[in-house]
């Protein structure tokens, strides 16, 4: 199996936020008592005047972010993914997405790799409930390098965003930052003609590993980093389905409502092809080490390989 360099997306976030804070005085950062974990504490240290801790009150944090944004601030509001999506969902809907305010909800500790904290802290449904909100852009960077690009793009883009990061150090899939990142534009990471694997977040690395394993058996899998769940790159999804005739999706999220569902929606209406979703199968997680949980809940390269073989068996 490939040995990747690793880095935490939240570390990349904390670091780039400080750099951006120096460049742009309109950036204001909020947190809800998790700034040490989300890494916004770095910004707080350098720009105490532009950082507000709202305490353990995520709903109030999102509402406050909205108010600041009405006055022209570019507001980054951070907490864990479960709270930023679920606990404050109505605030995200009513006070941010509906009035299309310039609030960037950047969440960390998404998915099962949150690990030892257990099911209460593992957001496996957040993409489903944020993707359903009009006006909200939803992005899941593949690694720490892409995280920096996403955060920089977020400052330039006017509008509400939900950006999903992880707790542990994760595989760095890009060798360097020398590639074009555009919100809403998927990236072909590896070419192939037999099937397409669409992935986001940490599952991009797993998909690249799976493609290498498949290649040993003569199966050429195309791997696409679909970092933006909304707006979705429909053109790319359809053309990949047309060119490869089979699709696997891989996400560190429930198979309900997330990346797999988004791709399925596009394919069913435009280019139905055999498809298998890799993700959490409508279950809550549990405490454990991230790598143990990934195995137990079927989120490894081997699971993607198996899914690829199943889908190829159904390919006409």
């Amino acid at each position: 199996m490939k040995e990747w360099k690793t880095a935490a997306t939240r570390d990349a976030y904390g670091k780039v936020l400080v750099e951006l804070g120096r460049e742009n005085k309109d950036i204001v950062v909020l947190d809800a008592d998790l700034s040490v974990s989300t890494k916004t504490a770095l910004f707080a240290k350098e720009f105490p005047d532009r950082f507000f801790d709202l305490g353990v009150a995520e709903q109030d944090m999102i509402g406050t972010a909205a108010g600041l944004a009405t006055c022209g601030k570019i507001v980054f509001a951070s907490t864990f993914a479960v709270f930023g999506s679920g606990r404050a969902w109505d605030q995200l809907r009513m006070s941010v997405a509906y009035p299309r305010l310039n609030v960037k909800v950047v969440v960390t500790h998404a998915g099962i790799t949150t690990g030892e904290d257990g099911a209460s802290h593992q957001a496996n449904e957040d993409l489903a409930i944020t993707r359903a909100l009009p006006n909200l852009t939803v992005v899941v960077p593949a690694d720490a390098i892409e995280t920096e690009k996403v955060i920089r793009a977020a400052v330039k883009y006017y509008g509400p965003m939900y950006i999903r990061l992880s707790r542990p150090k994760t595989s760095v899939v890009y060798e360097n930052a020398d590639y074009e990142f555009k919100i809403g534009k998927g990236i072909v990471m590896r070419s192939g003609k037999d099937l397409t694997i669409f992935a986001c977040g940490i599952m991009v690395a797993a998909s690249l590993e799976a493609a290498e394993v498949l290649a040993l058996e003569g199966i050429e899998a195309r791997v696409v980093n679909l970092h933006t769940l909304k707006p979705l790159d429909k053109q790319l999804i359809v053309s990949c389905a047309q060119e490869t005739g089979a699709v696997v999706t891989a996400e560190e999220h429930s198979i309900i409502g997330g990346l797999g569902a988004a791709v399925a929606e596009v394919l069913v209406e435009n280019e139905p092809v055999p498809m298998v979703r890799v993700g959490l199968k409508d279950v809550f997680g549990e405490s454990g080490k991230p790598e143990e949980l990934l195995i137990k809940y079927g989120l490894t390269a081997q699971d993607i390989v198996r899914a690829a073989k199943v889908v190829l068996g159904r390919k006409k």
């Binding site: 204001v28 709903q59 109030d60 509402g63 406050t64 108010g67 009405t70 605030q91």
Partner: protein
């Protein structure tokens, strides 16, 4: 001391707003007249006496901000914005109609002059805090006002926001509670009692004032006291009457929380609200 003529003028404006509330909800066939009427005098004082704003330049960065946290009282805010000149009074008839900027609950993208979209209760005070924090960051001297319903104060987020405002000492913020004592299901004290209400705000670190929410002189005096108070956010608990100004709505406040008057009721209500001096002879 406010001049008597100014008070008379404000009274006449408030009567106009009330007539608009009745007519626009009647034309819409739905809406929330009761809680709009109870807030009519508060809104009149804010938009026609207290607040610094410019209908010709709704985005003016130095303007005072008003957040209608009880978003269902949209009709009274629309009436005030129309009378202030943000849009023609004739447009009020489009309330709740398809394609109109006058959404059932206020929508800041649809209508210039609306500072925050609301409708899901309990969210406005957090947004008002954000505006107050931004004012401080930008070294601007604008003031932020936020109108809450009393039933709305059963929402937990109100108290999260109350803590935030006092923690950050937002003395450029005045919250006003339209304490009309009724919510959809009944009397607030019976559904889920807020009392001791003033003490709650005090305990959350606020400077608390209360006054008759239908007495212009008292309202203005209290708003000015609140504005002068430094180091803490201020809340005014405005004692109001649900359906104020329309006898049969005051008598049956629960019937008119979320029901529009029929055309007959509209006639009766408007007749009650008209005074001879409102007509130019």
């Amino acid at each position: 001391m406010i001049a008597k003529e100014k008070v008379k003028e404000l009274e006449a404006t408030a009567r106009k707003l009330r007539q608009h509330i009745i007519s626009m909800t009647c034309a819409a066939g739905s809406g929330h007249p009761g809680g709009s009427l109870s807030a009519a005098d508060i809104i009149t004082v804010l938009y026609f006496y207290k607040m610094r704003h410019n209908p010709k330049d709704p985005g003016w960065p130095d303007r005072d901000r008003f957040v209608m946290s009880k978003g269902h009282a949209a009709p009274v805010l629309y009436a005030a914005l129309a009378e202030a000149g943000y849009f023609p009074v004739s447009y009020l008839k489009t309330l709740r109609k398809i394609g109109s900027s006058l959404q059932g609950h206020v929508d800041m993208l649809a209508l210039p002059g609306i500072e925050m979209s609301t409708g899901s209760l309990g969210q406005g005070l957090s947004a008002a805090n954000g505006m107050a924090l931004a004012g401080r960051l930008d070294k601007k001297d604008y003031r932020v006002y936020c109108l809450l319903g009393d039933g709305e104060c059963q929402e937990g987020q109100v108290w999260e926001a109350a803590m935030t405002a006092s923690h950050y000492k937002l003395d450029n913020l005045t919250a006003i509670v339209d304490h009309n004592k009724y919510q959809i299901d009944g009397r607030v004290e019976e559904i889920k009692n807020l009392q001791p209400f003033a003490e709650k705000w005090k305990a959350f670190g606020w400077q608390v004032f209360s006054c008759d929410g239908h007495d212009f002189v008292k309202l203005i005096e209290t708003l000015e006291k609140a504005e002068k108070f430094k180091g803490k956010p201020s809340v005014i608990i405005a004692e109001t009457v649900k359906g104020k100004g329309v006898s049969f709505m005051e008598e049956r406040p629960l019937d008119f929380h979320g029901r529009a008057p029929t055309p007959e009721e509209e006639k009766k209500a408007v007749a009650e609200l008209c005074q001879l001096e409102d007509f130019e002879l």
